[in-house]
């Protein structure tokens, strides 16, 4: 027995040693890489999705050193300075239309982003330094991308989700700027990170007017590094840059049919060869599974007439559409029982140059109608109530058709749909979390039955935002689910309002994710793992969607009034203090006695003045004393006054002189 054991151990040791040797070989082979790809996909609502994907990778510093010839230095320094393990920054304009453009495929999962700027980062530093790293990172990125990302520095604007977002723990920070405008000034620094910028390769398609006139524009930067891992499996830093745009082809092609388009009609430019530094440079055209199934049906119809379909699986013979160039490869998604796979046509750009630029054209032959795959529930968020005092946030989720597919453990009786919601609310929207109510198909439900897990960190005034993470367990048959939370609107100091205070304040998008659902494309082709975009598509990504940004109008004070308010309020306080003190101080009897005593004496100018003052304080009209010469005291008073003023002036002058 012991022999067997020791033999087994020996074997294990040997095995692991050999593996590590193999691993090291692999590591040594690693080199800097850059790949570029463009994925085009027609969308059901006569639009086209263009997804640029650039990936640069740097091998770990331990084996490769710190000098790179492709990988951007600024990013390398960023990673090392702030010990970033993973980071994602996206600039988005427009809203991803989940109903029409799909909400279930890998592209929409990772590229449908909330409007404005979204940044999250996972750090590899001790817990107490995470916030400092985050602050420094926001400032660095703000400088790098010419955006006001530094506003995420304040603790009121970022949060630390525990489990609902990315399922990391502790060192992840998440922040959103919903109102950040995205423009070319953000794109230019982003392009600077590419080795060829937009001078050559696929990025030369990025004609500014054409990519910014689209319906959706999202520029994303995803960074992953395991530089700081001690294990030998380190792969270095991988920088993934994507630009996703949804464009409307402006070629006119009837009302029913899909518009035909070409690269030049979409972007106004053509690709003149690849970026010479890139390892691969491909253009893909993707057709979704519902088109594919329709195509198959068409084929069956025409099978009798067209026998050569199966011989050339190319574009020319396709009954639905026609591609101007022959694809080098057709990649089919593995089909399983429930779903038809989509098809990707691959076109390499390498063989084209200035004289003969690459220009792909898609022409539809037959009018086609299809729809995209949807996430199991379509989430949207809105405000309830009116007025500027209070309101309620409602998140409603409507079931889509694809609810019942691909469920884990599809037993009809015990069928549950797990939905996670992650919502960050700024502090001036004071949410009452105890008012959380849940409605299934319009019926109020007890929260205990449906909420599986909840974590709330309520907002603190001027310190931190309110974070709510909820895991719901809904029955599969549910049609609609709604969740409401009441809130009070806060009142801010005048300095805290932005310059356009009456526009309202934005509540960042909530993230709704479906933990049971993972979307990926699985290709049967082994080659495809080598191309980053394809391996990216094959990765299993959790299905998630972002809700709308909410605009909450807050009451404003009168911005022109600070001085008036200060003076008037202080006057009231002075009135209170003075009149109460006067009421307390008054001693009528003694005053009268004093006056009587004074009147008995000879009335000098000073006593006259005093008596005048006393009588004024008493509120009685001053009766001039019996002395006939009423003009002389007046002049003497004036004389006294002048003398006093002169005295004060002299003191002031002496003071001034002394201090100089």
């Amino acid at each position: 027995m012991s022999f067997l054991k020791s033999g087994f151990l020996l074997f294990l040791v040997l095995f692991s040693a050999s593996e590590s040797i193999a691993e090291e070989d692999k590591v040594e082979k690693l080199n800097e890489e850059f790949t570029e790809a463009l994925l085009l996909r027609p969308l059901p609502d006569r639009k086209v999705l263009a997804h640029f994907h650039f990936q640069s990778s740097a091998p770990p510093t331990r084996t490769y050193g710190r000098h790179h010839y492709i990988f951007p230095k600024s990013i390398y320094q960023l990673v090392h300075k702030f010990q970033v393990r993973e980071m994602e920054l996206s600039f988005t304009q427009g809203r991803w239309n989940y109903e029409r453009w799909g909400g279930f495929d890998p592209i929409s999962n990772s590229n449908a982003k909330p409007p404005g700027v979204e940044l999250w980062a996972d750090f590899d530093v001790p817990q107490d330094q995470v916030d400092d790293s985050w602050k420094n990172l926001t400032h660095a990125l703000s400088g790098l991308f010419c955006a006001s990302i530094n506003f995420l520095e304040h603790s009121t604007s970022y949060s630390a989700p525990q489990w609902s977002f990315r399922s990391f723990s502790g060192k992840l920070r998440y922040g959103m700027l919903p109102r950040e405008a995205v423009c070319t000034e953000n794109l230019t620094p982003w392009l600077k990170l590419l080795p060829c910028r937009d001078k050559a390769g696929l990025s030369s398609l990025m004609d500014r007017p054409s990519i910014y006139k689209g319906y959706y524009h999202s520029q994303r930067l995803h960074l992953k590094s395991d530089e700081f891992d001690t294990s030998k499996m380190s792969t270095g830093i991988v920088l993934e840059q994507t630009l996703t745009v949804v464009l409307q082809p402006n070629t006119f092609s009837g009302k029913i049919s899909q518009p035909s388009w070409s690269l030049s009609s979409l972007f106004g430019r053509k690709v003149s060869g690849k970026c010479s530094l890139s390892n691969s440079s491909n253009v893909y055209v993707q057709f979704e599974r519902s088109i594919v199934s329709e195509e198959n049906e068409l084929r069956k119809k025409h099978e009798a007439s067209k026998n050569d379909i199966f011989i050339h699986d190319g574009s020319q013979s396709n009954p639905l559409f026609e591609l101007s160039l022959p694809p080098i490869r057709v990649i089919k998604e593995v089909e399983n029982l429930q779903k038809k796979g989509s098809i990707l046509y691959e076109f390499p750009v390498e063989d084209y140059d200035e004289s003969e630029p690459f220009d792909l054209e898609l022409r539809w032959k037959v009018p086609v109608v299809w729809s995209c795959e949807q996430a199991p529930l379509r989430a949207s968020r809105f405000l309830l109530g009116s007025g500027n005092e209070r309101g309620a946030i409602a998140i409603s989720m409507k079931s889509t058709r694809s609810n019942n597919v691909e469920r884990v453990g599809s037993d009809e009786k015990e069928c549950w749909l797990k939905v996670g919601i992650f919502q960050v609310v700024p502090w001036y929207v004071k949410v009452y979390y105890h008012t959380l109510e849940l409605f299934l198909d319009g019926e109020p439900q007890s929260t205990m039955n449906i909420i599986e897990k909840i974590r709330v960190s309520p907002s603190e005034d001027k310190v931190s935002p309110g974070v709510m993470e909820i895991d719901l367990r809904l029955p599969c048959c549910v049609k609609t689910a709604a969740l409401t939370l009441e809130f009070d609107k806060g009142f801010l100091h005048i300095d805290e309002y932005p310059s356009d205070a009456n526009q309202g304040f934005d509540i960042p998008s909530a993230v709704v994710h479906f933990a049971d659902f993972l979307s990926n494309m699985s290709f049967d082709d082994n080659l495809s793992t080598k191309v980053p975009i394809l391996s990216k598509l094959q990765e299993k990504t959790p299905v998630l969607s972002y809700t709308e940004v909410l605009l909450v109008p807050l009451t404003t004070p009168d911005f022109s009034m600070p001085y008036n308010v200060i003076t008037i309020t202080c006057t009231i306080f002075a009135l209170y203090f003075g009149s109460l003190l006067n009421a307390l101080r008054r001693r009528v009897g003694e005053e009268e006695r004093l006056l009587r005593g004074k009147a008995a004496k000879k009335t000098g100018p000073l006593t006259l003045m005093l008596s005048k003052l006393f009588s004024k304080l008493r509120g009685k009209p001053w009766e001039p004393s019996k002395t006939p010469s009423s003009s002389s005291p007046k002049s003497s008073i004036n004389y006294k006054l002048v003398a006093k003023v002169a005295l004060v002036a002299a003191i002031a002058a002496a003071w001034q002189y002394y201090f100089q």
Partner: protein, 469 residues
């Protein structure tokens, strides 16, 4: 004469109970419709400190084993949370969920009214007694009869619209008022432990009743309100000179008027206060053991009150001031405004030390005017205390003007709030103007009542001195 008075007071007593029961029924009926009245969200009624909704949020957080003070929602005492918290839990079976709490506040109001009445009765008795001992009772009876101000004050407390609104508006100010009145009653009846308990609880829950320390000590040391003590000394001297003048005076001198400060009761009060304080603090410490200790509690409750963090509108003037004032002056003005309450304590205490109950009224009025989150519940308290001094303040000026002012402000304030917040047709200045008008009326009320009281003392002094001169 005595018989008639007795009958009259009996009739009035019956009247009191009838009206008290009527007011309770009225409250219960109104609280049945409280969902429609929606008073709990009115800024005039519930402040960030007293709102029951915030208490419910704190309780909910506590149920999730989080600190009730995490998040800037709840700022009350942990004791209140553990007592009232279970009443706020949403119950699906009972449709009308907050009934329990409205019952509590109605009971609190009723007890307060009864205690006010008891205090008022002893005040009236002391009033008559004092006059008799000064030999002025005959003089005064010719002018006015002594009103049963205790009954009236109790009924004013029960039927004041401010009290009714705050009692059905789901906030904790009825409880605050109850503790203040308990302390006042305990001090005036000589129940030292009760006085200490009321004072400690009121100041623990709402901080501002701290200033009542001085009047409570005066009450215990010198006894109930009366004319200046100097006059008694004089009259006793005079009485010794001419014993034959008043037959009754002799009988009264058997029970001498207290003119010396009784240190024994004050020391007892101190003792009881320290006992209650340590008790409350130990309870709070036990509650806050897992949530950051007592320091956190002080920061979240008293710190919140003193630093005026919440700028949501209320009927005070501080919210708008601190929303507008420049940041670098903020601390300065915070100090100035809070010191304004403290500044007046000493002059008032010197001038009115023979009238501790009236001093309680003045301090409450001042603090409800200058406090950071005032509500109409505070006004309800001091207005009914004002009624206790009906006999003394009969010659107060501007009373009709003040009455109209209070009515006008309480009508205008909701209108302005509606115009500003809900319709958006007006701006913040509209509402702030009513808040300022309200502050002005309160100032006039305080100043006029203080000067009327001083004038009354002067009058008594003059009347005492007449035979001498």
């Amino acid at each position: 004469m005595e018989e008639e008075n007795k009958i009259g007071s009996q009739i009035k007593k019956l009247g009191f109970w009838k009206w008290a029961v009527a007011s309770i029924i009225f409250r219960l009926v109104l609280s049945y419709f409280s969902e429609n009245l929606n008073l709990s969200t009115r800024p005039e009624v519930s402040t960030p400190l007293t709102s029951l909704r915030r208490l419910a949020e704190g309780y909910w957080l506590k149920q999730l084993s989080m600190s009730p003070y995490s998040g800037s929602m709840y700022h009350g005492s942990p004791l209140l949370l553990s007592v009232l918290g279970p009443l706020t839990v949403k119950n699906i079976i009972v449709e009308y969920q907050l009934f329990g709490y409205s019952l509590v506040s109605v009971i609190a109001d009723f007890i307060s009214a009864v205690l006010i009445r008891a205090t008022g009765r002893s005040l009236v008795a002391a009033h008559g007694h004092n006059l008799k001992s000064l030999g002025l009772d005959k003089l005064f009876k010719d002018i006015v009869e002594i009103l049963p101000s205790g009954d009236i004050a109790g009924l004013v407390y029960l039927w004041n619209p401010f009290t009714i609104v705050s009692s059905i508006g789901f906030n904790t100010s009825p409880i605050e008022n109850l503790f203040v009145i308990v302390s006042l009653y305990g001090a005036s009846a000589g129940l030292i432990p009760l006085a200490a308990f009321g004072w400690v609880m009121a100041s623990h829950l709402f901080l501002y009743p701290l200033v009542l320390f001085i009047p409570v000590i005066f009450l215990l040391g010198y006894g109930l309100d009366g004319p200046p003590r100097k006059l008694f000394v004089q009259s006793i001297l005079r009485g010794e000179e001419r014993p034959a003048d008043h037959v009754e005076l002799n009988s009264l001198t058997n029970k001498p008027i207290k003119t010396t400060f009784s240190w024994r009761r004050v020391i007892l009060f101190f003792l009881w206060t320290s006992i209650w304080i340590s008790y409350v603090l130990v309870l709070c410490a036990i509650f806050m053991r897992e949530y950051g200790g007592l320091g956190e509690m002080f920061k979240r409750t008293y710190g919140f009150v003193l630093s005026v963090e919440d700028l949501s509108p209320n009927i005070g003037v501080l919210w708008y001031f601190f929303a507008e004032v420049f940041d670098f002056f903020r601390n300065f003005f915070l100090i100035v405004f809070h010191v304004n309450i403290l500044f007046m304590i000493l002059p008032l205490a010197i001038r009115l030390n023979h009238r501790p109950c009236f001093l309680v009224f003045v301090y409450l009025a001042i603090s409800s005017m200058l406090k950071s989150y005032p509500s109409v519940g505070d006004s309800a308290l001091y207005l009914s205390l004002l009624v206790l001094f009906l006999n003394e303040l009969a010659e107060m000026q501007f009373s009709f003007f003040l009455f109209c002012g209070y009515v006008g402000v309480s009508l205008l304030s909701p209108v302005m709030h509606n115009i500003w917040i809900w319709r958006g047709t007006g701006n913040a200045n509209f509402y702030f103007a009513t808040a300022m008008a309200y502050a002005c009326f309160q100032i006039i009320l305080v100043v006029e009542s203080v000067s009327a009281m001083l004038n009354y003392d002067r009058k008594i002094k003059k009347l005492c001195n007449i035979p001498k001169v």
